[in-house]
């Protein structure tokens, strides 16, 4: 979404500050400060604001500067986002927009940031091919992945659409499909066993987490009625009804095998 002016948006999760697509950084800073000036009395004290820099290619320093402007008005920024409407996926999939740089923590690709309910918003998303190098971030895929399309990403992948049979999603972290998962999903590639796969309609052709592979039993299976989730337990992929609480649990005894 490209805008002319700075837009403030109230969301359930808090304030979202959307910056205009302005290549001139000085002018951009001016616009942000002016908007904050006008509204500071109303929004002051807002915590956990999200700063959305859209498609702007900004350096880490630039972003820090923007964040400090916001903070100088008594707000705190919890997250810098690359905005909505991330990637349209082709072959090979290249995310078209970069998330914003906030120094990202080293650690496994799927390391989740507790306290930030949107999770994993940190780190610049470079559409690099899966390297297993612990790249963090989330790739948002808008639209349905069709047969023969393959999306791979070192961090998490969220698909706003279906994953059809013959399509493949490979993530270093978690995979969330806001639609029907009918194709192949590989979360936690190559060896992150704590990764999960969530789908609103969970009926994959095949499921892989880290190096564990599972497929549905032969024969007709009926379509699930509610969201389901898969993860590794005792070296096996188990599928259960999705619940936010369960998805949040990072580890359970016995999960650390192979580490």
């Amino acid at each position: 979404m490209k805008t002319e002016d700075v837009i403030f948006k109230g969301t359930k999760r808090g304030l979202c500050i959307i910056l205009p697509h302005d290549e001139d950084f000085q002018r951009l800073k001016g616009k942000l400060a002016a908007k904050l000036e006008k509204t500071s009395s109303f929004f002051a004290g807002a915590t956990r604001a999200v700063l959305d820099i859209g498609e702007l290619a900004l350096s880490d320093d630039d972003v820090r500067e923007l964040v400090s402007i916001v903070e100088s008005f008594g707000m705190s920024v919890s997250r810098v986002a690359g905005g909505i409407g991330l990637a349209t996926v082709a072959e090979p999939p290249v995310p078209q927009r970069a998330g914003a740089p906030v120094p990202s923590k080293p650690g496994p690709a799927s390391e989740r940031t507790h306290g930030d309910s949107e999770g994993n918003g940190h780190g610049r998303v470079e559409g690099e091919q899966l390297s297993g190098s612990g790249a963090a971030g989330t790739l948002l895929v808008r639209g349905t992945l069709r047969s023969g399309q393959r999306t791979s990403f070192g961090g998490n992948i969220v698909v706003l659409g279906d994953v059809n049979p013959g399509a493949e999603v490979v993530a270093g972290g978690d995979i969330v499909v806001m639609g029907a998962l009918r194709g192949v999903a590989h979360a936690g590639a190559p060896e992150n066993k704590s990764a999960i796969v969530v789908a609103l309609r969970f009926m994959p052709t095949q499921l892989r987490i880290a190096d564990v592979i599972a497929r549905p039993p032969d024969g007709e299976s009926k379509a699930p009625r509610s969201p389901e989730m898969a993860r590794i337990r005792n070296e096996q992929i188990v599928i259960e009804a999705y619940s936010a609480r369960k998805a949040e649990m990072e580890e359970e005894p016995g999960w650390k095998e192979g580490l």
Partner: protein, 267 residues
């Protein structure tokens, strides 16, 4: 002794190549032969679905050719027949991912271990066709009794001759005896007259093929299906047995009877 590499091809799409490969493969394996089916339709793979093996694919033919896995790792054993194996195509790649010479090598390697290597050729005469036919000893041409399909089959026979692939044999698929009788469909003799190759078999049009394809259970395993019977005979002929062609009139009598007593016959 090295096994035989047989490519199943047609030129035209949708005439039943993949169905024929699945059924010939199952037919040969039911006879106790070791069979490897190779899906050469990279980017538009179907053979795995027709065999009901889609959810078992981990590695595919492109992985093998690119050296990312061993030949054995990509071979999927059929869930019904112990001696039948599938080498699936890649879906997220295209025909250019493979060179004809690599395919020749791959099918030759498979022929070391299997009695039969049956290659499912993609439609068309471009790279995919050249890949699929590269290592073939012999060819099965599938056509339907339609002028357009026969025309394409004729083109294919010419290309195969030029490539030195020996002994093309013909499968006429989806024949409808009643239509032939009414003179509304090419008959088998017409087709052979044009193509001038040996007839391997005639498969009657049969709705059970569609249901079996959707279920991933080749019709050749269905003892009651007439198309299945035709494919059993085709497999036997490939295996060197001399079996008579089946009479395609049996169904005709039944439908005539039904017509007489007034049950609707849709065909």
């Amino acid at each position: 002794m090295e096994g035989r590499v047989i490519v199943v091809t047609s030129g035209k799409g949708g005439v039943g190549k993949t169905t024929a490969v699945a059924n010939i493969g199952c037919g040969l394996a039911s006879r106790g032969k070791k069979v490897a089916l190779v899906d050469a339709d990279i980017g538009l793979r179907n053979l795995d679905i027709v065999l009901g093996l889609e959810n078992r694919i981990v590695y595919d033919i492109v992985h093998v050719i690119e050296g990312k896995c061993r030949l054995r790792q990509a071979l999927i054993r059929d869930k019904r027949l112990q001696t039948l194996f599938l080498m699936p195509a890649a879906q997220s790649r295209d025909k250019e991912a493979v060179q004809p010479e690599q395919m020749r090598q791959l099918t030759r390697n498979l022929a070391q271990e299997f009695d039969y290597v049956v290659v499912d050729c993609p439609a068309g005469i471009e790279r995919g066709f050249k890949n699929a036919t590269a290592g073939a000893d012999e060819a099965v041409i599938v056509t339907t009794p339609e002028v357009s399909a026969v025309r394409d089959a004729d083109r294919i026979v010419g290309l195969l001759e030029a490539q030195g692939v020996g002994r093309p044999r013909l499968v006429v698929n989806r024949l409808r005896p009643e239509m032939v009788k009414r003179g509304e469909m090419l008959n088998v003799e017409d087709v052979i007259d044009i193509l001038a190759i040996d007839l391997l078999g005639v498969v009657p049009d049969d709705e059970s093929v569609i249901t079996s394809t959707n279920k991933g259970e080749p019709v050749v395993l269905d003892g009651a299906s007439r198309a299945g019977e035709a494919f059993r005979r085709i497999a036997a002929r490939i295996d060197g047995e001399n079996v008579p062609f089946m009479s395609l009139d049996a169904g005709g009598l039944w439908s005539r009877l039904k017509r007489i007593i007034g049950i609707g016959v849709s065909r």
